[in-house]
Symmetry: C2
């Protein structure tokens, strides 16, 4: 008995010893020196590309992911089948406008990059029709031919309501033009303040008789890239088509709509919703040495929008999780609990993968003690949002985390993909990974979210940060 | 007397009240909501471009800078004349190689971006000559025609010395191929560990009979962009020409040099050093209300290398300083000391502007109580390096700084351009601005240091950070 106790003390000591500053150094050295996340993300982006739920590319990605993860010798790699919604963009997708008072040539991006107003300073020329940067929002119906109507621009819900009540939106295409509040330090907060106009704006406008909506892109930048994203119809309202327009275009159309009472725009969208399609979550595990039945799940979503390559959103989060699992294995860390890297399918327009994951976990009585989500891009890590109940445990490591620039710890820890786990594991600790947010909405859901926008070191530092947080969870929870 | 005391106490209180969290919020709101730095940097980069000391563009920049600053209504804007060295690149600039065992086509950057090794996996083809991404180092002599010699690759000073002593470098072109140590969290530390091979490598190799050097670009990235920078000859050694080669090219040439004992490379450089040219520092001031004769100087260097547009290095630092001065004025801050924004000329290859600035200050008995330098790019701010004597004063503001993500305070505070101020102001507090370092050496001194690599919000956050540090100096020093 004394012998056994001594053994356990020794074991406990060796576990404690594992997570000192030398351990952190080992994790970061492996990530910065031998990191695999960047090369694998490059493969995913360049050999598969975007991965909209239900698309052939999403299926290709699942095959690639299982094969790639299998090559790293984890304890197990498997798929979880799930049916996903399938919305499909069409090549028939255009927005044009015609104005008696203004004619603008959409030139390259350079000028607008530093002087967005330049757009509006071009000389007036005879009216012509202009094709402008705009993309259908995910979930929008098509237009069934060309939809032409007068344009009305609104800046707020209040303005939408007052103009709607005055019947000023009837038969119009409405530009929902509330910009990001730039004073927020964290760009996700600005996104949160505006995204409702993208998600619910079409039905709100339809309630007042609008025939279509254009939504200002959810971005901090003034540029010519349109940013798509999910929109959801209120079934009680007439469904009307919805497009995102680049922020610079929104500025221009807003100005024109005030100068020219006869400004009209034409939308043509061939997008459609097809029957649900089979897809899968992709999972890789390292079995726990002490509590193999207790799971720490961590990951991102494997689907993406169909613009760009889904590099930051959320290829980066998937690679953070894979790389965290890989580098803990590479440095010989023996987890007490089972570590499970999950690439959830269909976060963008349905959350079917996350719900199916939680449902399988519930049915098989899997115990989840914690879950971590990375869905804020592959930028320099800054810290974590952590469930308030677990906050004091994390704060014990604050000086270690600060030494690596990842000690910004805040309350909160939810996430779209890990939230459902709480249904059958109400005590699971939820953690959100927080990287620098400044550039995220430059690329989010747009053609600019490509591999080239990801920095290797930033991505690998993020993976190391995720890895050390997993170790904190593994050490502090039972 | 009692009245006077009450007045002073009131005044002291109102000064203290200025720098609470509401004050910080005002600074950041102005920077994020109405920031001018990004638009002005865009003008500088796109209407002037690169600004190598003594070049016509540097002169154009000085004219632009004085005019631009004057348009903001500061108390004074003026130039300080200074003669600067003038080294000039030539269109005659090429590096080719010929190898019996290898033939590689330099394709676009995409593949190499995520799999640098791909470079070395291309199929062997018959030998041909290849032009490869390489640029003369600043200060290098020309080759006076083509210089062709066998290539020897070395990874360390020790290897250079041992091969040199064994006469293996005689008549050779030497590739100085020590890579950045990637495990350093801060990329400037990695730069510091390697840059000596760029600055002094040519003369070290010349001492062993080498006829030219190629220097691995000072960058974390494996790509096809060559990064220039200053090199300095040891006057006791034969001067030999020096070029920077892209990191991917360095990897390739290193591999080839081991496979092919007859590998030869040809350098052709038409660069030359011309007579010194007239130039200037650009200065803008807001007079102090209490101590107008005491100066807080802050700025960056206005010259740049001739690759790219000098956007991060150091257009960003110049704009940080201008914008800090502008936004303190815009929010109505009354500085106690004179705030002086300085754009020093010729940091890159001579430091003439900084030395002249310090010398003028000494001659005119100007009292400098502090100086702050921003020369680490326009990325998200993280904190400051601060003279150890002033550290406790700054730490009083740590929780305010942390709230804006700029509370990483470390010892140190020197900087190339502010160092000389110490000669006649030994007690001047020196502060270095520290932004995120991960992407800096992706662009440093290369064709990729263009305006498009700068993010508006990151730049404006940096300016706000500089502004609040200036206020700390203004409030805490007498």
């Amino acid at each position: 008995m004394r012998f056994l106790l001594a053994f356990f003390l020794l074991a406990a000591n060796s576990v404690q010893a594992q997570v000192d500053s030398a351990f952190y150094r080992k994790v970061f050295n492996e990530a910065l020196g031998n990191g695999q996340a960047y090369a694998r993300l490059g493969e995913l982006c360049k050999t598969v590309g975007s991965r909209l739920s239900g698309s052939p590319q999403a299926e290709k990605a699942v095959v690639w992911g299982k094969q790639m993860l299998s090559s790293y010798g984890f304890d197990s790699v498997y798929l979880q089948a799930v049916m996903v919604p399938r919305w499909e963009r069409s090549k028939t997708e255009s927005l044009t406008f015609s104005s008696a008072v203004f004619n603008v040539a959409i030139k390259g991006e350079k000028l607008q990059d530093y002087n967005c107003e330049a757009f509006e300073e071009l000389p007036l020329k005879p009216a012509k029709k202009h094709k402008i940067p705009a993309v259908a929002l995910g979930g929008s119906i098509g237009t069934n031919g060309k939809l032409t109507a007068g344009l009305v621009s609104v800046h707020s819900d209040a303005q939408l309501d007052s103009m709607g009540r005055a019947s000023a939106l009837k038969g119009k295409i409405v530009l929902l033009n509330r910009p990001f509040p730039e004073s927020y330090l964290n760009t996700f907060k600005a996104y949160g303040a505006c995204v409702v106009q993208r998600v619910n704006g079409a039905s709100k406008a339809a309630a007042y008789g609008a025939v279509g909506v254009l939504v200002r892109s959810m971005s901090n930048r003034c540029d010519l890239h349109a940013h798509t994203g999910v929109m959801i119809y209120d079934e009680k309202q007439q469904k009307i088509p919805a497009m995102a327009v680049a922020t610079a275009v929104a500025n221009l159309l807003d100005k024109l709509s005030h100068q020219d009472p006869n400004l009209s725009v034409s939308m043509e969208l061939g997008c459609q919703t097809l029957p649900d399609a089979p897809s899968a979550n992709v999972v890789a595990e390292t079995r726990g040495s002490k509590y193999p039945g207790s799971i720490i799940a961590f990951g991102g979503h494997f689907d993406s929008w169909d613009q760009g390559e889904g590099a930051h959103d959320d290829g980066a989060g998937c690679m953070h999780a894979f790389e965290a699992l890989r580098l803990l294995k590479a440095i010989g860390y023996q987890p007490r609990h089972t570590l499970r890297c999950v690439w959830w399918m269909n976060e963008e327009n349905g959350l079917r993968g996350a719900n199916e994951y939680a449902s399988i976990a519930a049915k098989s009585n899997e115990k989840h003690i914690a879950a971590l989500e990375s869905d804020r891009g592959g930028f320099t890590p800054r810290g974590f949002g952590v469930d308030s109940v677990f906050l004091p445990k994390v704060m014990k490591y604050k000086s270690l985390l600060d030494a690596y620039g990842i000690g910004e710890i805040e309350k909160g820890g939810g996430g779209a993909d890990i939230g459902p786990i709480r249904k059958s594991n109400p005590n699971a600790v939820l953690v959100g990974f927080i990287p620098d947010s400044q550039r995220y909405f430059d690329v989010h859901h747009s053609e600019t979210d490509v591999f080239e926008s990801v920095n290797k070191r930033e991505l690998h530092l993020g993976a190391a940060a995720v890895a050390v947080m997993i170790v904190i969870l593994d050490q502090e929870l039972d």
